[in-house]
Symmetry: C4
């Protein structure tokens, strides 16, 4: 039976299935959520359900204080990271977390992904940040909530805007991406994985490869995002 | 015609086909067995039969002393490794052996796979052990039986529990994984291959990457496996 | 309704779809154009349209001075690079630009791809050139037009012929390939990606691998391209 | 219309298509031949025909002195390498040449593939030899014929048997594999590519990885090939 959340759950379901179809997750790992700011809720994948068995009606709807408002299954174990970021950053409408290989490898290496080419600069003008692993007290406390704090602190200390930089690596763990909706969070997850693989290969070929020059970064970013953008229709 | 072993052979067949579908084996290499502890038997893939020609009825059923109780084909050449492990470790109900690329590469490198991230810690709290190649006398003796001894000795000398650590690399050879049933042994083979690839890429990016801190290992393992686990339904 | 450009647009569309089917592009990145020298026009992919939604009728037809002669959509943001090369090099009839992984990695590493084997020499007798990133004044000016200048300058300073060397890397950016028609530009994009991956792997195995000897380069190139070529039907 | 060579051409065609389906060739590169020793002929892929257009009736049949006995198309440009090897080594009935990525990379690196694990030893007890590039006089002479000489000389100088070692890398070029028939030559091409990738990854993880010990090499080879072999049905 349809509810006020049917369209939101459908969008969340489609985004989760797309994440799997793109090969960005393995087994039951990874999750996408989709927010409805007007209704004050977000839908998220249930915890540990195989993608092959997932249905739109299984998505769990919660308010931003983590209270379930619709759904019978337990939400993703990472739910409190999602809700924290939705509360902090009002401009975002979707979040995706993957275990994609190259993104995870950079996170495990605890290295920012340096800006080495135009594919990267088409999307953001900064190195992709890798937040350090959390302090023991944060890990042993409200871990998923604190993962959100760790991401926000990383952005604040580096003076990054979540509107421009729509992705982060959490050290030893993996990537979180976001955007105006769940589809864009999935799109950004794929961009991150591609950029992560390109940077990996580049540094294998030339360990001393330089960061791309600022004029070229600005040119490519502004082609797509500046006020005089001329990419797309 | 159905026998007391029909369901066991079907489960064994499905697990072998899944191993192949996941791309973890090439040609006819690799094998999965499934045990029925109540009946005191296990089913295993026949030796050297292409996956495309395999049928559930071709699975060979043996007791744990390697006597064939049902089946016309010769069982996998690795059968005596499987039976040895079933005798030693009464808690396991399935075993899988693959020639997956990254798992084999670590085995050929004779290196344990270090615990570098949460994808690894979601499944076990130890580095994935690589048992050394066997002494010449063991190789020239009852080789497959002795492969089982080598695996058990590795676990005993390192004080590892096969309930927690459900995978091992045999030096110069490749991985063996196990679990409560054949499907879980296949699942673990896939996890191992993913973790092996992530660790490979991580150390290429940062050869000095540190082992993940113990608090984070404990947190992730206990989210899924501890008494207060909250992952899944 | 059919126009004088229907066949050209269809050829352009097919080449763009082939580029995507070969896995040489991600998202909406990458573009192929097809020229009709007699009519003095070329067709090119519209900017930022997903491959899954692309139709032959969406291709944009322009003259070589960048005036649209047919089509309602905005042409690729790289259009002025294409038109510049068509004006400079009258022998070429198709151009392809991709974000293929290994090609981009060499471009980001700012390294020519050395001629290490016969797969490379079957197609050209030179290292694949990597043009340096542009000067700031060129980036901040008519960027896409100037990208064309950068490519031509690279070929002139190295005395390379665009008839023989049908591919280039633009530093920090990625590959451009061309040929007698759009299909050949796509073929060359695939050859480049293969050669880029082979060279990458070769230098990982043996960082001191030598350039192939000149006699072997000449033999393989002339088997396919010389006046006494004996490859093909 | 059926001829005395219909079955041979069909076997040759199937082997060529299998090579392509396994991803061991790109574009039109690569070729497989199949010999019929009783009729004194072999069938081979025509030169430069796309795999998608290939038909069994297009296979070209030649005697071992390179005279065409059936077929309208020009045979593979590598035909004289095949015929030379058939004349030298009477025990072989099929030959395959690929441009598979990892095999080519080792050939371009001019390195033997060291025997690092059981996957390799299941098939041969030697490192996979890489023949050096030919002398200029041989390249400029009857190149394809001389490629055959280069392969035979490599085997003679190293005292290798083509019955045991059914594969070779030609320096700067790529692999040739053979076997009792065309299907086995394709099988060996796939084994070589897998072993080449495993050795690559192993040495990336541990550049000092040792060759596998002789007892383990003998054990694995003899499990499958010795007089007391017990692998398979």
């Amino acid at each position: 039976m349809a509810s006020a959340y049917t369209a939101l759950k459908e969008a969340c379901y489609q985004a989760n299935m797309e994440l799997n179809a793109l090969g960005l997750v393995i087994q039951t790992f990874g999750n996408v959520s989709a927010a409805d700011r007007q209704q004050g809720v977000f839908a998220i994948k249930p915890s540990g359900v195989p993608y092959s068995e997932l249905r739109a009606e299984d998505m769990v709807v919660l308010d931003f204080e983590n209270q379930v408002v619709e759904g019978k299954l337990r939400p993703s174990s990472d739910t409190r990271t999602h809700s924290y970021l939705y509360r902090q950053w009002e401009g975002i409408g979707g979040i995706a977390h993957t275990h994609a290989l190259y993104s995870v490898a950079w996170a495990q290496a605890q290295r920012d992904i340096p800006l080495l080419g135009t594919t990267h600069a088409d999307h953001l003008t900064h190195d992709i940040p890798c937040a350090p692993p959390m302090a023991d007290s944060l890990i042993e406390g409200d871990y998923e909530h604190n993962t959100g704090i760790q991401i926000r602190d990383c952005f604040e200390s580096r003076k990054l805007s979540p509107e421009e930089v729509q992705m982060v690596l959490v050290g030893n763990h993996g990537p979180f991406c976001w955007g105006k909706d769940a589809a864009q969070a999935v799109y950004n997850s794929r961009v991150l994985e591609t950029v992560a693989q390109m940077a990996y290969l580049t540094l294998q070929i030339n360990p001393g490869a330089d960061r791309m020059k600022d004029t070229l970064i600005a040119k490519h970013y502004n082609r797509k995002h500046g006020k005089d953008a001329y990419y797309g229709q």
